[in-house]
Subunit: 285 residues, 2 copies
């Protein structure tokens, strides 16, 4: 059997159409450079669905920094091989022209869910993410789509995209996969040099520190953030882009933690921007 690699929307629709009667179609949208985090998404989709489609598309409109787009790692051959190993049926790897043959006239706008965290430091980013996710969901028409919890704000926005627009798809969030030292898996980790790689787990340590302080009874967000930020060593290669404590539903910052929250952070490690998040509640270990 093996995995089918297709580059056009019409071919993808034909291939998926042939398989649709066999049962649910599961979809894993990715930007490629697949790692064990993506593998956990694909494995979950494989367990749930008769057909598994993985897309590999580095969406240019969601990059606010041209150098970030240029440096984004690409490894299509290895990605296709991994998808085959994991039992995916179809890899959809369209060109930019296939996805954006003409400049878009219509786009998805995202409200206050995109106001903070990565939305504040990357204006327009989530509008472009929501737009490409909508396009991909319309192309593949899956019954379920799988997203990593590592991109917590993206996942929350995709869930609202689906409910606001009544999209006929179930969104499944899959837990973050981590290196033994806690670093969340990310395609961007490839860009870190050896010294940067050693510094990178500071982000997760900061978030864990917030969780621990909250478990110990501290509920003032400013104090929690101060304690978290203190975990990031003073090093010229590290710059905390943000560390916030937000409501898990609307991603608005909270001042006092009265229930479940998401502690979320973004850390520049050299030129590479990493994000991570941890769910936590007052008094919860």
């Amino acid at each position: 059997m093996g995995v089918d690699l297709v580059g056009t929307i019409s071919d993808l629709r034909i291939l998926v159409g042939r398989r649709r009667s066999a049962g649910p179609v599961g979809f894993v949208p990715t930007m490629g450079a697949l790692h064990a985090g993506h593998a956990s998404l694909i494995t979950r989709a494989r367990r749930d669905c008769a057909t598994v489609v993985v897309s590999v598309f580095v969406n240019p409109i969601q990059f606010d920094r041209p150098e970030d787009l240029e440096r984004y790692p690409r490894s299509l051959n290895a990605d296709v091989a991994l998808c085959g190993t994991l039992g995916a049926d179809i890899v959809f790897a369209p060109s930019v022209d296939e996805m954006y043959p003409v400049p878009l006239e219509c786009a998805v706008s995202v409200g206050r869910l995109a106001d903070h965290l990565c939305g504040r430091s990357r204006p327009g980013h989530f509008s472009s993410v929501a737009t490409v996710v909508l396009k991909l969901l319309q192309i593949v028409q899956p019954g379920a789509a799988y997203f990593g919890e590592k991109d917590a704000q993206q996942l929350a926005i995709v869930r609202r995209l689906v409910s606001d627009f009544n999209l006929p798809v179930t969104i499944v969030g899959v837990p973050t996969v981590r290196e033994p030292d806690g670093l969340a898996l990310s395609s961007r980790n490839q860009r870190l040099d050896t010294a940067e790689r050693q510094l990178a787990p500071a982000l997760y340590r900061a978030l864990r520190q917030v969780k621990n302080a909250l478990a110990a009874g501290i509920v003032d967000a400013a104090e929690l953030k101060r304690r978290g930020a203190a975990e990031v060593p003073a090093d010229a290669r590290l710059k905390l882009d943000y560390l916030e404590i937000v409501d898990p539903d609307n991603f608005q910052p909270v001042e006092r933690v009265l229930g479940p929250v998401v502690a979320a952070g973004a850390l520049f490690v050299g030129a590479t921007r990493l994000i991570d998040n941890v769910r936590c509640s007052p008094g919860e270990p």
Copy 2:
């Protein structure tokens, strides 16, 4: 058999789902107060499709003037009866709460296609139209959806919505149905009193005058518009909101007419705003 009236998204999906294997699903979105213009859409869908779904939903977010929303005619019982007579299978008439259970976080934004004509005089209108059309298409999941050419700018925007977002649906434009004196059928015509009704065909006459002048060799848009506007009598009850000559693809105004264009106008007749349009080309009778 008769027509099924459903008010909830889940019921609609169950009913349509049962019929999907019978063949193509055709969808006619309306705001109700159905007239012969809608009937031509439903009849066309009936001819093309195994299942015909008509939605009746007065979309509150697309009304810029509260009094326009309040005065919009509603006649669900008569609408359902007409749908039954025309052989439609399902009427979907959701409540506002069913369509908007919470304020939207995501919406469709529309670019320069919405800059002019009705978009200029009704800011945000087409974004809200595109948003509700997207929602309805996701709820019904039709193979084809039918829209009147009377709402030319709306039709152009819906076509771009579909191509930009890769929606798996064919959009079918259906010619405008007119009264014997040329007035385009519209639910808003019901609001006209006898005197206003007699004045209302001035809009179509103005657009026909543009077409005739263009056929006679005049290509300067300002002169064409002047001649068209001269057809609107000086009457305190009439106010031309706009009369424009635009490119049929991007709805941008043209200065000289070098190929096919759309002459489009909006006329206040008393408190009622009517729109109409005519396609024309230089030298074409």
